[in-house]
């Protein structure tokens, strides 16, 4: 753990070397999510509600997804460069070191500039929490926390899965972006608005709905089923098969040479 913080420190220092660019990137990230926010705002300005959800209810959903995505992205997106590590043979070097592979991948890149997105998500959440009309009793607070924690673990699992697949394809898989960037983009609305098929897929195959939709229903009082609160815990279990796949890939790993 001490080593982890040391790595973080070094990465932070190195990224701060280009200060102007660093802060412009943060601002840019902030604006990216800001335009997403305005996208929702203008849609609701015209339609008032979608599928029975109001603007501030959707904002909670949007902020929870964005927050978990930005946390996961900031700390775990090292897996994004994993295909490159395999291609260049850099993984061989990592395998020789006396620390876990995952640990080293995680510490290879930490994108502090993603803080802009995190900031945006936090602000939206601060705005949405008092205005959405939810009475913030203990169970509702717990629901929101579990939603975010579940979201972080789903994105972590997807990043690991992405790295695992690249053992076999060597190339990065653009299609995986539908699950990561795509669910961030389309997850700003409760997944049920996309219809039964999409909801089913994101419940049973990629468990995004388990942290984004079902607990959200309880949060805004659309359902009384208490056990919906605990569904995000299943998201944490989703890491296991993804990790197993990664480990399987690692055991079959053949160096690309050089």
């Amino acid at each position: 753990m001490k080593l982890y913080f040391k790595y973080i420190g070094i990465l932070l220092k190195s990224q701060m070397q280009y200060k102007a660019s660093f802060f412009m990137t943060i601002l840019g990230q902030f604006l990216v999510s800001f335009t997403a926010f305005f996208g929702i705002y203008f849609m609701f300005d015209r339609f008032n509600q979608v599928d029975g959800y109001t603007f501030s209810e959707v904002l909670i959903c949007f902020a929870a997804v964005l927050l978990s995505f930005s946390v996961a992205e900031c700390f775990f997106r090292g897996f994004d460069t994993f295909p490159k590590l395999i291609k260049s043979g850099g993984l061989d070097r990592i395998l020789l070191r006396p620390r876990g592979v995952i640990f080293q991948v995680l510490t290879s890149t930490i994108e502090f500039s993603r803080a802009g997105r995190f900031l945006q998500a936090a602000i939206t959440l601060c705005y949405a929490i008092p205005t959405c009309g939810v009475v913030w009793t203990f169970d509702k607070i717990a629901t929101l926390i579990l939603m975010i924690a579940g979201g972080i673990s789903v994105y972590l699992a997807l990043f690991v899965l992405y790295a695992g697949i690249s053992f076999f394809t060597i190339e990065g898989l653009e299609f995986m972006n539908v699950f990561t960037d795509g669910t961030r983009e389309f997850g700003k609305y409760p997944l049920s608005i996309y219809g039964k098929g999409v909801l089913g897929f994101f419940t049973y195959v990629i468990p995004v709905a388990l942290f984004q939709y079902y607990p959200f229903l309880y949060l805004v009082g659309k359902t009384e089923r208490l056990w919906y609160i605990f569904l995000p815990l299943i998201c944490a279990v989703f890491i296991l098969p993804c990790y197993a796949f990664f480990a399987f890939g690692l055991s079959r790993y053949k160096s690309t040479g050089s």
């Binding site: 280009y18 102007a20 660019s21 660093f22 802060f23 412009m24 990137t25 601002l27 840019g28 990230q29 604006l31 990216v32 335009t35 997403a36 305005f38 996208g39 203008f42 849609m43 300005d45 015209r46 339609f47 008032n48 509600q49 979608v50 599928d51 029975g52 190339e171 898989l173 653009e174 299609f175 972006n177 539908v178 795509g182 389309f186 609305y189 608005i193 996309y194 219809g195 999409v198």
Partner: protein, 267 residues
């Protein structure tokens, strides 16, 4: 002229090599378009009377957007150009007996066109086979199709001219990363790539339509769907041509100014 044609050909052929990547892209874009349509369908079902266009016009708009994505992708930059400016290799480029602006312009056009060529056909074919109203439909008549074509070309050249201004800005800022993300974000929003411009409130729409960014992808796509037609379409094309000239000329002036006092990095 001949040398620019060869630049075009080399880039175009190079772009055509990445077929596997193009297939992956097609699948991704297809999923993206599909989810977008489902999202708008939810809004349509919640309040059809507030929908600014026919639902089938919207699906056509989205499939056009996905199929022609590479033409209007704002974040598709040629990183070689940024690198040559930041690393100092620009010195070699300046030694060549051809105009820097034209050379970069032609290279960008070629990269985008080769990308589109690989991706658009599968998307068009599948999108055309989908059941109504989820499919892409043909333009209403020949005149509409012709106007779309003119507007598409104008919008495409405008898009490349705007990218050129961003490349040239790297002469002044040296590190292009921040500039890139800022300009991309704003332009995406203003060009109707996040949500189509007809969905904005009327006052906002008026402003957006006067800015150059709506002239990139929004104008041709709206003409195709029949949302903008007749005299409005001609006026919109007029706005496009106006901005094309303005941005092209300012890009030219900017590069002239930048090259006068260019600092070559490194030795």
């Amino acid at each position: 002229m001949k040398q620019y044609f060869s630049f075009f050909r080399i880039r175009f052929i190079a772009g055509l090599q990445y077929r596997a990547a193009a297939w992956a892209g097609v699948v991704t874009q297809f999923a993206w378009g599909f989810l977008s349509i489902l999202m708008y369908r939810a809004f349509y079902q919640s309040g059809a009377e507030n929908f600014p266009m026919e639902f089938s016009q919207l699906t056509t708009y989205i499939w056009l957007q996905q199929a022609l994505l590479a033409m209007f992708m704002i974040w598709l930059f040629d990183n070689d150009i940024f690198d040559s400016i930041t690393s100092g290799n620009i010195a070699y480029e300046l030694c060549r007996p051809c105009d820097l602006y034209n050379m970069w312009f032609v290279k960008n056009v070629a990269t985008r066109l080769s990308n589109v060529l690989l991706r658009c056909l599968p998307i068009f074919i599948v999108a055309a086979c989908l059941p109504y109203p989820y499919n892409i439909s043909l333009p209403a008549d020949w005149a509409c199709g012709a106007l779309f074509f003119v507007s598409l070309i104008a919008g495409f050249f405008l898009q490349v001219s705007i990218s050129m201004v961003i490349y040239i800005s790297a002469f002044y800022t040296v590190s292009p990363a921040g500039m890139k993300i800022l300009s991309v974000t704003l332009m995406e929003f203003l060009s109707g790539a996040v949500i189509p411009i007809p969905f904005f409130p009327d006052a906002v729409q008026t402003i957006f339509n006067l800015l150059p960014f709506a002239s990139m992808q929004s104008t041709p796509f709206l003409i195709y769907t029949g949302y903008t037609s007749g005299a409005d379409a001609l006026a919109a094309i007029g706005v496009q041509l106006f901005w094309l000239v303005v941005i092209y000329v300012s890009g030219r002036l900017l590069i002239k100014h930048a090259l006068k006092k260019v600092v070559v990095q490194g030795g």
